[in-house]
């Protein structure tokens, strides 16, 4: 596939890898923000071939991992109501809530459907005018334009039986929250290439400056990720801390202004809870007053649902790179991929699920 295969070329990847080996002289801790990058790192085994000086910490950039328990419980409560068709990206169906996951709700007779695009949820709403169709609008800045478009279209076409359960989160405030933690170990960031495709990278300049960390908007293929790591390592070794764009074929400095405009037409910034991390100020989106008609939390009065995360689960500490999964007392005992306590065990590239596999291999 054009613009995919070239950036998976093992010969080129090995060349960049050898540059990284030549450049690194000291241990460095680098975080890739995005779950998609983590997926690519694990899938291609990039972590196994990097110099031992480089420690990769898998960041919180995966909606499966950071959507708070109480939002999952709200989703489950809404999906369980009569006359509701609950639609979601496939990612969220196996994420455990307090008592069950969306798959279990489906098996109890509720209409839970996987969609690939938020516009498909809208199509379902049009085809089922006597039902309430709810779309689980999770994700980061990349997914927000699509989810905003679904509401915009619903408003344009006067579709009243459509609403969104919104749990949108924003990357830069989470990066700052991690960096300002006294226990922070991360010295350089691979920023999420598709988030930057939408938002651009101007908002990272002050973060790089304030915390003296290199930030590299990076793509998702092995060549991209290795080049991103090379750019971070070069800056660290030279004592620089700048925003430097690796993902030039998709990311522009200003991002995608059309998308940004529609996002801010539909959503406004709000405080958000992150699973395992806690509340981060101004780190998410909520539907604006003007479009409240499309807010499933209001429509189904689930605002009162609160849930605490299982005490046994330390996924938040793990997401911040402060502890390794096997240091958790529940690891491999109460918590396994088929009986996950926390999201880091659900997502196939979640730190705990990955460790679980490798432990079985005796590593």
């Amino acid at each position: 596939m054009k613009y995919l295969d070239e950036f998976r070329d093992p010969e080129i990847a090995k060349q960049i890898l050898s540059e990284i080996h030549k450049t690194v002289t000291k241990p460095w801790v680098i975080m890739e923000i995005c779950g998609g990058q983590t997926h690519s790192i694990i899938r291609n085994g990039l972590d196994q071939v990097l110099p031992k000086e480089i420690e990769l910490v898998h960041g919180p950039g995966c909606p499966v991992c950071v959507t708070p328990l109480e939002i999952i419980d709200k989703a489950i409560a809404i999906a369980g109501k009569p006359n509701v068709i609950f639609t979601s990206f496939g990612d969220m169906l196996r994420v455990p809530g307090s008592k069950k996951d969306l798959f279990m709700v489906k098996s109890e007779g509720s209409d839970v459907r996987t969609v690939y695009s938020p516009l498909e949820a809208l199509t379902i709403a049009k085809a089922n005018p006597d039902k309430e169709v709810v779309f689980f609008a999770v994700g980061f800045e990349t997914t927000a334009p699509g989810n905003a478009m679904a509401i915009h279209q619903a408003a344009m076409e006067g579709i009243k039986n459509f609403s969104e359960l919104v749990s949108h989160v924003l990357v830069p405030p989470a990066m700052e929250a991690l960096l300002s933690s006294p226990e922070n170990r991360v010295q350089g960031y691979l920023a999420a290439g598709h988030v930057c495709t939408i938002m651009g990278w101007e908002e990272y300049d002050p973060i790089a400056e304030k915390y003296k960390v290199p930030i590299i908007p990076t793509g998702f293929e092995p060549v991209d990720i290795l080049e991103g790591i090379l750019l971070v390592v070069k800056q660290l070794e030279e004592g620089r801390h700048e925003v430097e764009n690796q993902y030039l074929r998709s990311v522009k400095r200003e991002g995608n202004p059309v998308a940004q405009n529609l996002i801010s037409e539909i959503y406004e910034v709000t405080d958000r809870k992150w699973r395992g991390i806690g509340e981060i100020p101004m780190s998410g989106f909520v539907i604006r007053e003007k479009y409240k008609l499309f807010d499933a939390e209001d429509k189904f009065s689930v605002g009162d649902i609160h849930a605490d995360e299982p005490e046994l689960c330390i996924s938040g500490v793990i997401l911040q790179g402060l502890k390794k999964p096997h240091e958790c007392p529940a690891f491999g005992k109460e918590c396994t991929p088929t009986t996950p306590l926390g999201a880091t065990m659900v997502s196939s590239e979640g730190a705990c699920a990955a460790y679980y596999k490798y432990q079985r291999m005796g590593k």
């Binding site: 596939m1 093992p10 990847a13 997926h39 085994g45 196996r94 690939y116 991929p337």
Partner: protein, 336 residues
């Protein structure tokens, strides 16, 4: 989380399916034949050795690019019977039809079944039809059961892998699963990915003519090649090491997998087999396969190793090894 009710994943061929079989079914019905956990039962009689297998088909949609539920029901059971080296002879067919199901669709499905049975040289010798209330089943479900005969000297089993054996796959992976997934409602594909549904008994005959040193055979249906290989590794308590760049996937199938974030190794096939064969005969068997129309893309994708027993690993383009685990449940389109 303990499951109080049956989940779809219990039927997806992954970890939960195995748990269900191990904890509920096997303890009730335990016997030596069943415990072998093969796709078919091999039954020894004084005169004959029989292969016996059953399967139920509930695919949605019932018509998909490259086939329909009917030919799938014939090919699927023929393949299960044949994967021990048997020659499939007779099938039973049982239909569960939903009230209101279009006669024209049934007719079309039956024509496909007739053609598929002829191609596989099997005879449908008994059958049953039930009609249930609208909503009690989804359009049409088909069960087929098959019987075949096999030579007394054959011993093809998931438990027979030897260190050094080569792993051959008979062609490109993930065609069927992606054909079905991309024709599902709600995914808006205008795709041309076609199912690979086919009966493989002819291909197996061709292979057995070249060599009897075929240690294991299985068609990687639900759960895909990754599941079959994990089952092999566990049954034989050996490791399996794959080479990523050798895994054959058609470009358009790969495209569909990329868009939906799905790994082709976990996607169902309905006309492919995985053979584990002795190292010394591997090239001869491969050559015979590539001369057969259903094996023209056959390729060696890895080998049996002594380290990491019970596990499957894959060497990536960069020389790293990643674990190819058993899937937990059905693969879902993802955005992350």
């Amino acid at each position: 989380m303990d499951h109080k009710t049956i989940q779809l994943a219990h039927g997806a061929g992954g970890q939960l399916s195995n748990d269900l079989i191990d904890t509920l079914f096997l303890p009730r019905f335990a016997n030596k034949t069943l415990e072998a956990m093969e796709d078919q039962a091999v039954l020894d009689f004084p005169e004959n050795r029989l292969s016996f297998s059953t399967d139920t088909f509930v695919v949605d949609p019932i018509f998909f690019p490259g086939g329909n539920i009917g030919e799938l029901a014939i090919n699927g059971t023929v393949n299960d019977v044949a994967m021990c080296g048997a020659n499939p002879l007779f099938l039973s067919v049982a239909f569960i039809l939903e009230e209101g199901f279009p006669m024209e669709d049934l007719h079309q499905i039956l024509i496909s079944m007739e053609i598929a049975a002829k191609r596989a040289s099997v005879t449908i010798v008994t059958g049953d039809t039930k009609v249930v209330n609208k909503g009690s089943c989804d359009k049409i479900f088909i069960n087929t059961t098959g019987i075949g005969v096999l030579d007394h000297d054959l011993n093809i089993s998931a438990g027979n892998l030897q260190v050094g054996d080569k792993i051959i796959v008979s062609g490109t992976l993930a065609d069927h699963g992606m054909a079905v997934m991309t024709s599902r409602e709600g995914l808006s594909f205008q795709s041309r990915v076609k199912s690979d549904t086919a009966s493989l008994n002819g291909l197996i005959n061709t292979m057995l003519k070249v060599s009897k040193n075929i240690h294991a055979l299985r068609d990687p249906t639900r759960g895909g090649a990754a599941t079959t290989l994990n089952e092999f590794a566990r049954s034989s308590n050996v490791g399996i090491s794959l080479i990523e760049e050798n895994i054959p996937v058609k470009p358009d199938v790969k495209g569909a997998c990329e868009i939906l974030g799905i790994d082709p190794l976990y996607v169902a096939n309905e006309g492919k087999l995985i053979a584990v064969v002795s190292d010394e005969d591997s090239l001869n068997i491969l050559a015979a396969m590539t001369n057969h129309p259903l094996g023209k893309d056959a390729v060696i994708i890895g080998e049996v190793v002594s380290n990491h027993p019970g596990m499957v690993t894959m060497k990536t383009g960069l020389g790293a090894n990643r674990i190819v685990d058993m899937p937990v449940g059905e693969q879902l389109p993802r955005i992350c």
